[in-house]
């Protein structure tokens, strides 16, 4: 009996060690030694043809410093467009998902730079701390700090609130939503969420089938469905109807429904899964929808509108 009690006490001691939080980040599925961008030969969700290649002069890879409560890390960022025109251009800030690095997401970033016409909008993205070649270790607070560092850099180059569009994909919907709701250096003018998740808790409840609190296994506070309620800026939600990872019903629709701002648009992409919305929708159509949303005249047959 003493042994059993000692064993249980040992397990209780260990409870201070285990939480699932760290499992949510997976920055090095395919590690890289340097960034290859268009020339990256590793796994990607889709590729664009060589004819759409971005000229080297319009593609800028650089580092910025991200300060998380004094923990300053050097993170890598990519800007596609003319940096000198940030003071007058509209810029899309792309917050990527939790897998891999900028090379993996490059086709998505490249596609956004074709919105309207090539380089009509500047596009910026970055690797969160611990991703790609960025220093540090991923964390929820790190996602927000690193995204804020990118916004701060844009502001220093002359960007203003009214010309910042923030776009989050999958895990990137968390910093995109957080910094639209609780903005610091710049207040994004519009928000685009692709395949957003409602909260970490919903993942558990979906899989387990019981209404158990997420805090039983994690400290993560990511809660897009709650934060979206604070957002007034126009909002575009895009989600694949066949998303077998982040369910459109229990995640995406909850986020969309909870938005209480001035204007929202929802696009359910029929037949699309988690990572293939762009090819299923068609690249041109995707670009058209993004462009129309940014300029304010979005008009698409299958769109859900609430103005």
């Amino acid at each position: 009996m003493k042994l059993i009690i000692l064993f249980i006490l040992f397990l209780i001691f260990l409870t201070s060690c285990l939480k699932m939080d760290d499992f949510l980040y997976n920055p090095n599925v395919h590690p890289i030694d340097n960034y290859s961008l268009h020339n990256y030969k590793g796994e990607v969700d889709f590729r664009l043809s060589d004819s759409l290649k971005i000229a080297d002069s319009m593609q800028h890879l650089f580092t910025i410093y991200s300060n998380l409560n004094g923990d300053i890390k050097r993170i890598y960022a990519l800007y596609i467009g003319d940096i000198q025109r940030i003071a007058t251009d509209t810029v899309i800030l792309y917050c990527h998902g939790n897998k891999n690095h900028l090379d993996f997401y490059y086709p998505r970033i490249q596609l956004l730079s074709l919105t309207g016409w090539k380089h009509r909008f500047g596009v910026m993205s970055f690797d969160y701390r611990g991703y790609g070649l960025s220093e540090g270790k991923p964390s929820e607070e790190g996602l927000y700090a690193d995204t804020e560092a990118a916004i701060k850099w844009l502001k220093e180059k002359g960007l203003t609130d009214d010309r910042l569009i923030i776009y989050g994909f999958s895990m990137g919907t968390a910093p995109a939503t957080e910094l639209s709701a609780n903005w610091r250096h710049l207040k994004p003018a519009k928000l685009i969420l692709e395949a957003p998740f409602a909260s970490a808790e919903v993942f558990f409840q979906d899989a387990v089938g019981l209404a158990l609190p997420g805090s039983y296994v994690m400290n993560l506070k990511i809660d897009n469905a709650k934060e979206i309620q604070k957002i007034q800026q126009p909002f575009l939600w895009i989600h694949g109807t066949n998303d077998n990872f982040i369910s459109i019903k229990t995640h995406g629709e909850v986020v969309f429904r909870n938005y209480k701002g001035i204007k929202k648009y929802g696009l359910r992409v029929s037949g699309a899964n988690h990572s293939d919305i762009q090819p299923i929708l068609g690249f041109e159509k995707y670009n058209k929808i993004i462009e129309q949303f940014i300029v304010g005249n979005l008009n698409y047959d299958n769109l859900i509108k609430a103005e």
Partner: protein, 221 residues
Amino acid sequence: MNKIVIKVSLLVFIFVLYSCSSIRLIKPIKKGEKLITADIGGPLVIFSGAPIFLPLTSIGGAYGFTDNFSLQTSLHTTSLLFGTFHMESFANTNIKNFDRSGFSLNYGVYYFWGLRENIFSLYPAFDINYYRHYSNKNNYFYTSFSSLIELRNTKAFNEPIKQQIIPTLSFGHRWLKEKYEFGVELKYLNFIKDNTNIVVEYIAPFNKGSLGLYFSLSKKF
């Protein structure tokens, strides 16, 4: 998001939860008899293209108050590693005896206490078991129908809960020795719930619920 990493994380927790369906007493033990049990088991899933089950553990004990009434309590050790104090306590009683077979009933609760945020959850549950001895009079086969009851009406973001009862069908066998008891059980967990479009790929017929495999070893005192 990376599906594999999320899946691993969720699998760990889901197995913890489903291991709460550990092997329970099917027949009451004798008056004054004590039993210490170790369980291992979980649902079957597809992971990286291959079927696996991630075995998680629980430990527990049982005591026979009368020849027809026993109490069993288990502590789910893997849950504890995640900061959740997770136990189950069940009573077992015979309700009908025949020559070589009989019906029995388990009733009790699962309880969870999140040690960090001090959140308590409770799930009542009951099992109806049918067992049958065969040529070896000690060993027996059995089948069980179990129901776990969700008392909450809503889940995250006040979404209504559409399924208040989580049913499970089990088929198992017990080998009884003088001092030890060994059990193996196949469960069909939550067999009415659609298991598509969630992070985990459960192995189950018709994309409903999940099949699970469980083992137990008990020592009598």
